[in-house]
């Protein structure tokens, strides 16, 4: 019973005996409908890191 796994799950591309099976595999994937999910801020930046960043920016600007 069932379809042999090595055909049904083939990852082949282009013309191959498995093209029909690849189409079936694509049907398994949920619809493509991207949604933005921005990373949230959960940690306050430590003062030291902030000061370092500020100094770095200041020095880089002066060099430019």
């Amino acid at each position: 019973m069932g379809v042999p796994m090595d055909q049904r799950v083939s990852f082949n591309e282009g013309d191959s005996p498995y093209s029909a099976m690849t189409a079936e595999v694509e049907n398994w994937m949920p619809p493509v409908a991207p949604l933005l999910m921005p990373r949230q801020t959960l940690e306050r930046r430590p003062h030291r890191a902030g000061l370092f960043e500020l100094t770095r920016t200041f020095l880089l600007r002066r060099k430019a």
């Binding site: 083939s10 990852f11 398994w28 949920p30 619809p31 999910m37």
Partner: protein, 600 residues
């Protein structure tokens, strides 16, 4: 942030419930530490006594907090959750099932059962299985099972399967990846676990709630445990059916619009989730840094931060899950949750959170640290007794009659009774409430229900010292930098032998024996007080093995008398599938390349 201030303001009843719980907790804590301080002052108040007073303050406050949840659940009025009708057009909904190394047959049979139930309820919903399974052979079996699910449900084009190449971010990352790639196709998503079962009518009611309240970002149901077979599992199952709704009603009343998310058996508004729940990695290495493990509470807090309501509704029935079957699988789960919850300590001061969300994070940390505080209290009590000055019977130079030291037995007894009361009285009140309001027949009628409650209290009392040590060890492991990871659940574990119990609990026996011997040698007066803690420790292997034994008669729940429709459906699908299930031959020519066809 403006939306947060206008929409998430707790109503008067919620504010009253919070104030009541805080007052009860602090009141009990003050009484307990005063009693202890008075007892300690009999022989001179030492620094150790001061530490003990602080420890007993914190531990009692925590116990009283739990008790006040039950009291508010009992007396805070019945839930008045709205029950709107589903209107056309129905929001596009997907039922998402993230899985990782689960048994394919039962996992996909559950989805088939939910699919049928959803169709019967007149709901249109897609399904998506989000696999994070790393075992290639198991992944192959998943795909075999999925092909069968598609055939039997005629689900092509509405039931989907995808497997990630890596499991970055674990379950939270799995769901996030789905939302990033496919979230735009859906307005609502029901999040399930691999062991979740949900009635179609419940999903319909949840969709209708989300439809009628556009500010509702997440609606959590109370999943009740089903299918337990062992004594321990059935005790947990009974507690989830009997005590669970009352405690959850108290929680719902207290948390108001800043409710909980337990990671599954809930519905989310996909847009709201996408815009506010992209989890960052915490700075630093695991266990306290890296991926956020207990992501659900953080996502609930982030939704609330963005101004979305998060609610729990314990009156929505038809929501089920499986539970651990023995002490060891329970302790393993606690280890995972402990690490995740201790990470929350780093989020208490996260920018922009609602005050209540910060308090919830503090509670999550306290839930595990409190075991360490109890252990510290026991240790400092022994030390304090050791350093107590000897009684002086003739303080005066020319004294004829001896002065006997004042005994502190009264205060200590009151303290012990108070602690016991905070643990037992809420459960007894729930029992009384159940008897008065007709819940008894669901639990095998009054006598059997009372016996179940009593057995559950005795069982939890016996296991409390074991859990104290498991929790304490987990906290110490996490604080010392040991990353326990987030291993997949091990479901359907069988009975444990005494040998298994010994292998997992010998260190507990050793600690119990050392405590008893040391206290008997150094402060024999304390021995009797320590017996309820030390004796279960000494018998830990026996308790671990004995509670894992099969027990179909104990702890009656409504499911025993009236099998649930969705469970009956699931069982019948499993029976049919098992008869014709043969996936072993598929593995013969399988290579790992073959198996990553549908990965993200």
């Amino acid at each position: 942030m403006a939306r947060q201030q206008t929409q998430l303001a707790a109503d008067t009843r919620t504010r009253f419930a919070r104030a009541l719980a805080v007052t009860v907790s602090l009141g009990c804590a003050v009484i307990a530490s005063t009693l202890l301080a008075e007892a300690a002052a009999r022989d001179g108040f030492s620094g150790w006594d001061g530490i003990r007073a602080v420890l007993v303050f914190a531990t009692t406050a925590w116990l009283a907090w739990g008790a006040s949840l039950a009291l508010i659940g009992l007396f805070g009025g019945r839930s008045d959750a709205p029950r709107p009708e589903l209107r056309a057009p129905q929001p596009r909904t997907v039922v998402a099932v993230p899985i990782c190394n689960e048994d394919p047959l039962t996992t996909f049979a559950r989805i088939a059962a939910i699919d049928r139930s959803v169709a019967q309820a007149g709901v249109t919903a897609d399904f998506v299985v989000l696999s994070d399974t790393r075992d290639e052979i198991l992944a192959g079996k998943e795909q075999f099972a999925f092909a069968r699910l598609l055939r039997e449900t005629n689900g092509a084009g509405r039931i989907f399967y995808r497997r990630r190449r890596d499991n970055t971010g674990r379950k939270a990352g799995n769901i996030e990846e789905f939302i990033r790639t496919s979230g735009g196709a859906y307005e609502l998503a029901v999040i399930l676990d691999a062991d979740s079962l949900m009635e179609g009518s419940t999903i319909r009611a949840m969709i209708a709630r989300m439809q009628s309240d556009p500010r509702l970002g997440l609606l959590q149901t109370l999943p009740k445990i089903i299918g337990a077979r062992s004594f321990f599992g059935r005790a947990l199952q009974f507690a989830s059916w009997f005590h669970g709704p009352i405690f959850t009603r108290g929680l719902a009343r207290m948390q108001g619009p800043t409710g909980p998310f337990w990671g599954h058996n809930a519905i989310i508004r996909v847009n709201a989730f996408a815009e506010s729940c992209g989890l960052p990695e915490l700075s630093g290495p695991p266990p306290l840094g890296g991926h956020i493990l207990s992501h659900d509470y953080v996502e609930a807090a982030l939704l609330a931060r963005a101004g979305w309501k998060v609610e729990v509704d314990e009156t929505l029935g038809g929501s089920f899950e499986e539970g651990p079957e023995n002490v060891l699988s329970f302790a393993r789960r606690e280890r995972r949750w402990c690490q995740g919850n201790l990470q929350h300590a780093r989020l208490i001061f996260a920018p922009g959170l609602a005050g209540w969300s910060r308090f919830v994070f503090l509670q999550n940390v306290t839930a595990y640290v409190v075991s360490l505080l109890w252990a510290a209290f026991l240790v400092t009590s022994a030390i304090s007794t050791l350093y107590a000055p000897p009684p002086e019977y003739f303080p005066g130079p020319y004294q004829l009659f001896p002065v006997f030291p004042e005994t502190s037995t009264r205060e200590i007894t009151l303290l012990a009774l108070g602690v016991l009361g905070l643990l037992v009285v809420p459960k007894m009140l729930i029992l009384l409430h159940a008897a008065l309001f007709g819940r008894a027949r669901d639990f095998g009628h009054s006598l059997r229900m009372a016996r179940s409650v009593l057995s559950e209290v005795i069982l939890t009392t016996l296991l409390a010292p074991l859990m104290l040590l498991y929790h304490s060890r987990s906290v110490l492991q996490v604080l010392s930098g040991q990353d326990g990871g987030w291993p997949a659940n091990q479901r359907n574990e069988g009975r444990l032998s005494l040998r298994d119990g010994w292998a997992a609990g010998s260190w507990i026996v050793l600690i119990g024996a050392v405590i008893l011997a040391a206290v008997q040698w150094l402060a024999p007066d304390l021995t009797v007080w320590l017996l309820p803690v030390a004796v279960p420790m000494v018998f830990a292997p026996f308790l671990i093995a004995w509670t894992s034994r099969p027990s179909s008669q104990s702890f009656a729940v409504p499911e025993d008398a009236n099998p649930l429709d969705i469970v009956a459906e699931f069982d019948s699908i499993c029976d049919v599938w098992r008869l014709t299930w043969n996936d072993e031959h598929l593995m013969n020519n399988l290579t790992s390349t073959d198996l990553i066809h549908a990965t993200a």
